[in-house]
């Protein structure tokens, strides 16, 4: 398919497209997975395909395929679809004149060269880590490595090709005696720097510590969100409102909030496609716009929304390099790049007299993505007493609002973690409503 990308671009022009774009993506991943403590399967997956955007008279058509035989048909359909649509007055043009920044740390030759036997060793490390903690068993998990290649071409002269690699490990554990508790841990990286043994051990430690949870009274209290929990809330309850498309369509809680003091003054948030070895790092976004460092919140003030080239054209601003696709089968839309939370760090638990520490949450995806309201179940939560974790809490519901939450941040830990593209420490928020 790779060799057909240039041909597809020509075909689109021949079929009558005034502008056209070809997005090629290929991925090869290898995964070794375990069930309980036994390796169960090895999976190899090859995926490769092309997405075609064709523009006729300010209207866009899109088609995609992974079959060389269907390519010509897909190109014609993309052009025909564009013809069906009325001209879109908000359409400006596909990106042009790409001058790309250098990014580093996203390709590791060692990952590309990994043999299955080595993948098996990493998966076994995860299992061994859990066995270090008696009284727990893994339920499932695995190791995955992947290599991706992307090529973006358009008729305005964009041509950018990039290769990247990643490894990840995931482990789910359960306690085997007495009170049942579960926990998980997960890590993803651009290079082979994950301690898989430690990952397994962490999950087991956490499950064991969570046994014998107590009930607590409904109250308003300080809650410290682990990076896993905090990133979940950001992604589901805050990020949708920063998406310029939602702002333009009246579906964002942040309309007319630019320039407002929107969060505590110590808080800065950046969207950054250039972070060294970031999971969302790349020279360009998914439509060929150069990646950049965007200040979203500076000292508590909301500075900008996030734009892809269409929403930027509509607003008369420059794209922030947030054109994003989940696969070659989708046209681009606005998506987060590396989303970096910056707040003065401290020894967060030690500096908290009383409150709750929450490791993970379930149900964040049920948040109201417009109003920012959320109501989630906390997992692996602990009470904090005199600067230390005290007792596990069995079941805990936390309700709040993502925008309010940013106004009530009172601290951040030293434990910065890359949770996919979201890079955040543990964050303490005052006056959260909890029901035990």
């Amino acid at each position: 398919m790779y060799d057909l990308a240039r041909k597809a671009l020509k075909l689109a022009e021949q079929a009558g497209a005034e502008e056209a774009e070809i997005y090629y993506a290929a991925n090869h991943s290898t995964g070794v997975n375990f069930k309980k403590d036994a390796l169960e399967n090895a999976k190899d997956r090859f995926s490769e395909g092309l997405g075609i955007r064709a523009i006729v008279n300010g209207a866009v058509g899109f088609a995609s395929t992974n079959s060389a035989e269907e390519l010509e048909n897909a190109v014609k359909i993309a052009v025909a679809e564009a013809r069906v649509r009325e001209s879109d007055p908000d359409w400006v043009s596909l990106p042009s004149n790409g001058k790309y920044p250098q990014v580093s740390g996203i390709f590791d030759k060692k990952i590309e060269a990994l043999e299955l036997e080595e993948c098996i060793v990493y998966a076994v490390e995860l299992v061994k880590g859990t066995k270090e903690v008696p009284g727990t068993l893994p339920t499932s998990g695995g190791f995955t490595r992947s290599k991706s290649k992307r090529l973006i071409l358009n008729t305005n002269g964009i041509e950018i090709e990039e290769e990247s690699t990643a490894v990840s490990g995931f482990v789910d554990v359960i306690t085997v005696n007495g009170d049942t508790s579960t926990a998980y841990d997960f890590a993803i990286s651009r290079s082979l720097d994950i301690d898989f043994f430690a990952l397994g051990k962490n999950a087991s430690d956490l499950a064991l510590k969570s046994r014998g949870g107590i009930k607590i009274e409904p109250q308003k209290t300080d809650v410290i969100f682990h990076p896993f929990a905090f990133s979940d809330i950001l992604e589901e309850a805050l990020a949708p409102s920063l998406d310029a498309d939602n702002v333009q369509k009246g579906r964002s809680g942040l309309i007319d909030k630019l320039g407002e003091e929107f969060a505590v003054p110590e808080l800065c948030i950046y969207d950054d496609g250039l972070v060294e070895a970031g999971i969302e790092t790349s020279a360009s976004d998914d439509e060929g716009v150069p990646s950049q460092h965007t200040t979203v919140i500076e000292n508590g003030v909301l500075e900008t929304y996030l734009y892809d080239s269409y929403t930027a054209g509509k607003a008369g601003v420059k794209s922030t390099g947030n054109g994003s696709r989940s696969s070659y089968t989708s046209p681009p839309s606005v998506g987060l790049r590396n989303f970096v939370i910056d707040y003065p760090q401290e020894d967060i638990i030690a500096n908290t007299t009383s409150g709750i520490f929450v490791n993970t949450i379930i149900g964040a995806h049920t948040a109201n993505s417009i109003s920012g309201d959320f109501s989630v179940e906390a997992r692996n939560a602990f009470t904090i007493k005199d600067g230390a974790l005290d007792k596990p809490v069995k079941s805990l519901m936390i309700s709040g609002n993502a925008f309010e939450l940013l106004k009530n941040i009172t601290g951040a830990g030293f434990d910065v973690r890359k949770v996919g593209g979201i890079i955040t420490p543990s964050i303490r928020v005052s006056g959260m409503s909890v029901i035990g």
Partner: protein, 446 residues
């Protein structure tokens, strides 16, 4: 290669070819028309206790696929040998009674589809609604299954459906109403009265603006068909999946034959129903069949793949995959079966509590048997009557406690189509229930 193949006990291939169309209409404008053509295959091979799996997109050489999967299985088994996997027997499935399609959506011009979406959107845009979105989805695919045991079968399915959402706002408060339907022919739009549903979505958004957020706490509740269906699927269905049971990640492990629910509760999974979770045979070639998960409160059966059926004892037929992914145990059409209570009766019995309606999704921890679901809206029940509308309400608790606290099961079963995610794969499912009453549950609010 021949050396390896001697040790390969079993292999199978699924070749899938298809195409899909989606149209998105946003605030009166066509936002997206896209078509996708795909083909690809997934190949499994079993060596001792290890599976090898190869998925390839595009033009496929099945022989290479089988060799690659076999190599993976062989290497895995050599480096970490373990007890061999047995597979429960399957017979060649009878592919018949596929869902009827009266109006083939492929015969409808794209312009006509766009016009239909426009009128759906207009119906959602009632006074006070300031933003609307309508999505049309159509997909056709052909699945061919072949195994080393000589099984060879295929079927084709054609799905169509739509989703409409409306957003209303007032004084910085935003609320959304959503409706969606999925089925098997273009007649769906008429049968389900798409225009009326769009109006309903608009009305919900506006109503919710005025709704209050309730005080949370423990109280008796009545669940509508959709939310009770989500409970059946998320809390009970997932915990009965044979693979999770074998992983030790289900509270239902070792409970077959036990009374785990109120005797009023019967929960069924049935892929033969022409609902959105329909399939004639599963991703292992097993013929689809109805399973009573819970019968009159007694836990009756897990859901199985060939592997889990052999290990736990049972019948396969619930192994599914998204596209070319490796199949895992999944639900199909899952529901709480009809009882004989009337809705009014439930309100009368509950007296004071909450009526929870619709679902904005939820999650469950099958190992600990804990769940959390967010309702779309709720009504306070006071003295046996529905009063003020509330929003941002959620339901959480322990699966087994809730099952035991069911006091009434209605006679108005309704199914809702959706997509279920597990192991990174989405598959079409439906779930449903009649109205049910629960004597005690934790409701989350402000």
């Amino acid at each position: 290669m021949t050396g390896i193949m001697q040790d390969i006990k079993f292999y199978d291939c699924r070749v899938i070819e298809g195409s899909s169309t989606s149209i998105v209409l946003d605030n009166g404008k066509i936002e997206e028309i896209s078509r996708n053509f795909t083909r690809g295959a997934g190949v499994r091979a079993l060596c001792g206790g290890s599976w090898g799996y190869t998925a390839v997109e595009g033009d496929i050489d099945l022989k290479c696929g089988v060799e690659a999967a076999s190599k993976l299985a062989f290497s895995m088994n050599s480096s970490t040998p373990k007890e061999g996997v047995e597979l429960a027997a399957v017979t060649s499935p009878d592919v018949k009674d596929l869902p009827e399609v009266r109006i083939d959506p492929r015969d409808i011009a794209i312009e006509e589809k766009v016009d239909l979406l426009k009128s759906i959107e207009e119906h959602a845009k009632i006074a006070g609604v300031h933003s609307t979105k309508v999505m049309y989805l159509e997909s056709e695919f052909k699945v061919q299954y072949r195994s080393s045991e000589g099984l060879e079968r295929e079927y084709e399915l054609l799905n169509v459906g739509f989703a409409v959402s409306a957003v209303a706002s007032e004084n910085g408060v935003y609320q959304a109403g959503r409706e969606s339907r999925f089925g098997y022919g273009y007649e769906l739009f008429e049968k389900e009265n798409a225009l009326e549903l769009a109006g309903k979505a608009g009305k919900t958004a506006i109503e919710l603006l005025k709704a209050k957020t309730p005080k949370g706490g423990e109280m008796p509740v009545v669940l509508d068909q959709e939310l009770a269906g989500v409970f059946a699927h998320e809390a009970v269905g997932h915990a009965s999946e044979g693979d999770l049971v074998l992983e030790g990640d289900s509270i239902l492990e070792n409970r077959i034959g036990e009374q785990i629910a109120s005797p009023l509760v019967t929960i069924i999974d049935d892929p033969t129903l022409h609902e959105f979770g329909y399939y004639p045979f599963d991703a292992e070639g097993s013929e689809s069949r109805r399973t009573e998960i819970i019968r009159d409160g007694i836990f009756n059966s897990y859901l199985h793949s060939r592997e889990t059926a052999a290990k736990l004892g049972g019948t396969p037929g619930n192994c599914r995959a998204q596209g070319y992914s490796m199949p895992v145990v999944r639900m199909s059409n899952t529901f709480i079966d009809n009882g004989d209570s009337r809705f009014e009766e439930m309100l009368e019995e509950v007296r004071n509590g909450m009526y929870l309606v619709g679902s904005r999704g939820g999650q469950v921890n099958t190992g600990e048997g804990i769940f959390q679901f967010n309702a779309e809206k709720g009504y306070l029940i006071k003295n046996g009557e529905l009063t003020g509308l509330v929003r941002d309400v959620s339901l959480s608790g322990k699966t087994l406690e809730i099952l035991n606290h069911v006091t009434h099961v209605g006679n108005d079963l309704k199914m809702t189509a959706g997509r279920c995610g597990k192991a990174g794969q989405l598959v079409p499912v439906s779930d449903g229930s009649p109205h049910i009453a629960i004597s005690k549950a934790l409701v989350g609010g402000a």
